[in-house]
Every structure is written in C-alpha cells, then in structure tokens.
C-alpha cells in the first residue's frame, strides 16, 4: 500500500515538473505576445475585449485540461 502511494506521489511530482515547464513557456510565449494587443482592445474596443476574454479563458480551460489529462495518462501509463 505504502509502495503504491510512494509511486503515485513520485508520478505526481514528475507531472508537476513537466507541467511547470509547459506553463512557464506558455507565460513567455503566449501571454507576453498577447499582453499589448489585449491592453489595446480593453481600452478601445470593450465589447470585442469581452468576447475575446471569455473565449481565451474557456479555450485555455479546454486545452490545459486536455494537456494535463494526456500528460497524467502518459506518465502514469509508462510507470505501470
């Protein structure tokens, strides 16, 4: 039982490390590039900004959920 828990914990830590690398690259690539454009939209075109904001957060939710699920399955599958 303890062996299983230790294995799971190790897999989880590994998943977190891989996820952290992905998220850091995401910060620098996507958010940095989008920052100025979104700022411009927020100050000049509020209605478009509102639509883009909801699409971005929903899109990120679906993409990150799929990425983490695949990552978890891939790493756990390899350990079994």
């Amino acid at each position: 039982m303890k062996k299983g828990a230790a294995k799971n914990l190790r897999a989880f830590v590994m998943e977190l490390v891989v996820y952290a690398v992905l998220v850091t690259s995401y910060f620098f690539l996507v958010l940095h590039l989008l920052g100025q454009w979104l700022f411009h939209l927020e100050t000049r075109h509020r209605y478009i900004y509102a639509a883009v904001a909801i699409l971005l957060i929903a899109g990120q939710a679906v993409v990150l959920d799929t990425v983490t699920s695949l990552l978890f399955r891939f790493l756990r599958g390899r350990r079994r």
Binding site: Y19, F27, L31, G35, A53, I54, Q60, A61, T68, S69
Partner: protein
Amino acid sequence: MFFPISNTHINPIYLVVVGFLIGILGGFFGVGGSFIAGPALRLMGVDWNYAVGTDLAHIVGKSIVAARQHRTLGNVDLKLGLFMALGTIGGAEGGAQLIQALKRAGNVNTVVSYVAIIVYFGIATFMLWESRKTLKTDKRQSRLGAKGVQSKKDRSAFGPVTQRIQRVEIWPMITLPTSGIRISLWTILLVAFIGGLFSGFLGGGAGYIRMPSMVYVLGIPTHLAVGTDLFEIVISASYGTISHAIKGNVDILIALVMHTGAVVGAQIGVVATQYFAGPKIRLAFVPLPLIGAAIVIYTMISGHKL
C-alpha cells in the same frame, strides 16, 4: 510580471499558487472560491473592481475544468444545471439592483456585512448539525449490522423535510433522471434565484449557498450537487465576466495566469471527492462559510476592505 490592463506588478508564481488552492476547493466542494481569490488579489494591490471581475473570469476557466472532470465521473445533471443557470442569472440581476438601492440609501456596507455574517454562520451551523447527525445515524446503523439498509443513496438528517418539498405539486413538474428526483420547476428556479440573489448581493459565485440548497432543498446527492453546481457556475460566471469586461473590470491576463494553477488543483479536488461520502464532504464544507464570515468581520473591525 507586469499586467498592463490593471496596471499592477504581481509575481506569477503567487497567482499560480492561489489558483491551485482555489482549484482544489472548487473541484472538491463545487464553489467558486471568490472569498479567497478576491482578498488574494487585493493583497497584491489590484483595485477592487478588477479583483471582482478578474476573479469571475478565472472562475469560468476553473469551473470548466472541474465540471468536465465531474462529468466523466457521472456527477453532472445537465438538465438541472441549465434550469439553475436561468434562475441564477435572474437572481444575480436582482441582487445587483438591491445593492444599487442600498447605495442610494447610503447604508450598503453595513447591511451587506450583517446579512453576510448571519447567512455564513447560519449555513455553517446548519451543515455542522446535519452532517454530524447523519454520520452518527450511519455509524449506529452499521454497528447494528444493518448492512442491507445501506444503499448508495446520499442520506441526510434533513431528508424528511426535503421529501416534503419534493412532494409539492406545482405545474410544471420536472423529472431529473440523473439526480433521481421529480420536482416542480418553480422550486428549482426559486433555489437558483436565491443563490443568484446572494451572488449579486454579496459578490462571488455564492456556491456556499447554492451547493447546500441543492442538497437540502432539492434533494440532490452531494456528489451530483458539487458537479452540477460547477456546470451552472460556468454559465452564470461567463455572464458575469462578459458584463464586468464591458464595464472595464476584467484583467484577463491575471485570470489566465491564475487559471494555470487552478487546472491542476481542480483535478486533484475532483479526484478527492471519490474518496469521501456525501455527509463527510458536507462536514468538511463547514469552515468555508466561516472563513467568509471571518473576512467580513475583519473588514468591519479594521476598516480595511480585503
């Protein structure tokens, strides 16, 4: 990291950690976690209007992840969630109007603070009483060896009152096969409207009111109430996000960064619900409204709005 929309410098790691913690709470209890996210953003110097709007945007993303995960576990009643969303949106508008009326009367802070404290303490006390009583009854029954009596159905000490509410026949009656109940549409809309009213009146998603009401008033099993509440939050928080974004109260960049932590937290929270029975989840829920009450009391005593 500089966020030009709200004109603030915030460490992204701080945002990811806050998102992670709120994600766990959201996945496990089906709440938005605005009572943590709002003050956490305020602590970093984000203006109050941006804290409220950005928190809503982040709630949308986190709830999508948690609701998707709950759906794979069969914990979402889509039909109920859609009806609830209608009532919530109506209630949220009503709550916002109430706030405007109190603003005109000039005593908005005092009234909202006292109502919040009474509601939070009321929910915590009631859930503590009910979940402990249900757990004691379950223990007594298992000690008597009544294994046949134990079923997968989520038991509640408030069950007889819930059944009486379900028997109220006001047309149209709705059958919810996923939740295993038949109830008047008006009861669903009323519960959702009250949840929405508190959401508009006290701020946040008001999951701390809606999740218990779904269990105690509608008779939805706790796991389903958590999943369905999250699905419903996706719709109502999206509406709130669009409304706040148009008014210039959303820094979507902060929300996106917070959400990267919330994705992992929400998945952990959802998985954790599988290991706890309904009454135990309800008992663990008790500190949440108490934290909300403590924050309100702190702001009243110190005069600092978190």
